[in-house]
């Protein structure tokens, strides 16, 4: 479904939509968790009254997400305050807290924060004392998270019913790439209330790592839209692209960054540094196919492409022998 990416890139493309086109656009946008971002993007666009009503609801809904996400961040801040450690907000909550363009209408689910690895235990204890509880009671899953993942097993607050993911780095420990988490923490920027967000370049690179070095690209269109908004807002600051290049090298994410720049330029016409984006790779088209694999009923299409990316995501996440062991354990539990 190209219409969604087109509408995000250039709102005027919606002028040609008929009633079915609008209904399909909304179904696809909801499936990609982009209805709120779409609503803000098309705010000034003329459209049928029925479409305008649906998008007005989406904007109101996004405002409520933003408000509750910021409240959840505040709850975490209070719970962790006495530990005196840097607490870095990640992804949607960070964009909202910093008032960035990427936050406009963005859906925000769980609260993602990052703390220094050596402070994980203390953070966990403090959060549990403040009312968060484990979601996964399964001992294998729990041990797996603790030994191999970049975050604690998810915690949920017993009164507010909201999840928190406490990260100590940005990619699983078993992944082939190891971004420099200490540098990300050290260079993070403090906000008024004491919470932190990543430095601009790290914000982009965390998004890039999340997109291509982890996961199977589900929600990729939305995550790439984050990149577009971040790059447009941050890219105009003097020296940004040079710092981004250096930072990508530090984290080992040069290839991933280049791919992200090419894709966001292709789909959203993002202005990027051409030298950094490099020449189109053999697989760029596959990524585009995967990102647009959604029809006007909100259904996933291109099952084979999807499966290929699913396999790829596990391949990236762990070495082959470990992957085999993991899948075997999971399979035995499922049967």
């Amino acid at each position: 479904m190209r219409a969604l990416a087109d509408a995000m890139r250039e709102p005027a493309t919606t002028a040609t939509l008929d009633a079915e086109g609008w209904t399909s656009l909304f179904a696809a946008a909801r499936a990609e968790q982009m209805i709120g971002s779409l609503a803000f993007r098309l705010e000034a666009q003329p459209m049928p009254a029925a479409a305008a009503r649906i998008l007005a609801d989406a904007r109101a809904s996004a405002e409520q997400w933003r408000r509750s996400a910021l409240w959840e961040a505040e709850m975490a801040r209070r719970a962790l305050a006495q530990l005196d450690l840097p607490v870095v907000l990640m992804k949607g909550t960070a964009y909202a807290a910093a008032g960035m363009d990427a936050g406009a209408g963005r859906s925000i689910g769980d609260l993602d924060i990052m703390v220094p690895r050596e402070a994980l235990k203390a953070a966990e204890t403090a959060l549990i004392a403040a009312g968060w509880e484990w979601v996964k009671p399964d001992p294998y899953d729990d041990a797996y998270y603790r030994d191999h993942m970049h975050e604690l097993p998810p915690l949920i607050h017993r009164e507010r019913d909201r999840m928190i993911d406490v990260h100590h780095t940005t990619l699983p420990l078993t992944a082939r790439i190891t971004p420099d988490a200490a540098a990300m923490l050290a260079d993070s920027v403090v906000l008024e209330d004491g919470l932190r967000i990543m430095a601009p370049e790290d914000m982009v690179l965390h998004g890039v790592a999340h997109l291509f070095a982890d996961g199977d690209l589900a929600g990729g269109l939305r995550n790439l839209w984050d990149q577009d908004r971040l790059l447009r807002e941050l890219g105009v600051v003097a020296g940004f692209w040079d710092r981004l290049r250096a930072r990508a090298r530090l984290h080992g994410l040069e290839w991933h960054l280049a791919l992200a720049l090419r894709l966001t330029r292709h789909l959203y016409a993002t202005p990027v540094d051409p030298a950094l984006a490099g020449r189109a790779g053999l697989f760029d088209r596959w990524f585009v196919r995967r990102l647009l694999a959604r029809d006007g009923w909100g259904r996933q299409t291109r099952k084979f492409t999807q499966l290929a990316f699913y396999i790829r995501s596990h391949w990236l996440r762990m070495p082959p022998a470990m992957l085999a062991r993991h899948l075997w354990t999971k399979w035995r539990k499922a049967t």
Binding site: A19, A50, A60
Partner: protein
């Protein structure tokens, strides 16, 4: 999708797609005379589709998907495809509606004023609303009451009435056979039969009404009525809402105004005839 049906119910437009013909045929039949979505643009999409490709033909089972989906919702057999479609539309409302505060309640209207009835499943709010709808009241809905936070008005959402178990016989005795859907046996909620709202409910579908009385009915007890204070009504209505938390402040304000301005009564009733008499008496008192 191969088969589809578009419909507007009150202020909400739906697009229902299906891999099978049968559920769409049943919808077309029972929703005959309902309008199209406003401007042809549906608020919500529902998909009835097989969980795995071969389940379209082999022991066909209907998974309920759409803009909003519950990950662990059990699929239904194809014979209950109509129920799946209805559940699909309910699900979109419950999870996705943000324009109106949704109250799990039935609503009827008379002289421009609305009576809101809410209670647990089996309390009889659905049967009571359907019955009143045949006895001089306008039926506005038996599943969701749509409260507009901007105006305090209730909007009609006159979906098919979903009659369950004993209520089916009670209503078939009262209403012409051509307004009923097929009898669905062995659903997760027992026997279900859908009833099409009458012509008066359809023609006045776009007229909202101001709430005048909130009832909390309970079936199976000796007839009794007691006042329900604003704070109790508030708490019970938040529990009866699927989107109260998601809507945030506007929902709090709308509900605060509702329970401040509109009297609440808890009623017990032994049978439907007794209930109708009790409702009429309380209504007269409330409007006096």
């Amino acid at each position: 999708m191969r088969y589809r049906f578009d419909v507007r119910i009150g202020p909400v437009g739906f697009r229902v797609g299906s891999a099978w013909r049968q559920p769409i045929a049943a919808l077309r039949d029972l929703y005959a005379g309902y309008p199209e979505p406003d401007g042809g643009i549906a608020d919500f999409t529902v998909r009835l589709e097989p969980e795995r490709p071969w389940r379209r033909y082999l022991r066909p089972s209907v998974a309920i998907h759409g803009d909003f989906t519950l990950p662990d919702a059990a699929p239904l057999p194809l014979a209950q495809g109509l129920l799946a479609a209805e559940m699909g539309m309910n699900l979109q409302m419950a999870l996705g509606q943000r324009r109106y505060l949704l109250l799990h309640a039935s609503v009827v209207e008379r002289d421009g004023w609305a009576l809101l009835m809410t209670g647990h499943s089996g309390a009889g709010k659905s049967t009571l609303a359907a019955l009143l709808g045949e006895r001089g009241w306008r039926f506005m809905g038996d599943e969701f009451a749509l409260l507009d936070p901007g105006t305090g008005l209730l909007h009609a959402f006159p979906r098919l009435v979903s009659l369950k178990n004993a209520a089916i016989d009670a209503m078939t005795a009262e209403i012409a056979a051509d307004r009923f859907g097929p009898l669905l046996m062995g659903t997760p909620k027992g026997a279900i039969r859908h009833l099409r709202p009458n012509a008066a409910a359809l023609s006045a579908m776009d007229a909202p009404a101001r709430p005048a009385l909130i009832l909390f009915p309970r079936y199976g007890f000796a007839a009794a009525a007691r006042p329900v204070g604003a704070s109790e009504a508030f708490v019970r209505l938040t529990q009866a809402s699927t989107n109260y938390v998601a809507m945030g402040e506007p929902a709090f304000d709308a509900l605060s105004v509702l329970v401040r301005d509109v009297p609440g009564r808890a009623i017990d009733y032994p049978d439907t005839e007794g209930a109708v008499a009790l409702v009429e008496r309380l209504w007269t008192e409330a409007l006096a």
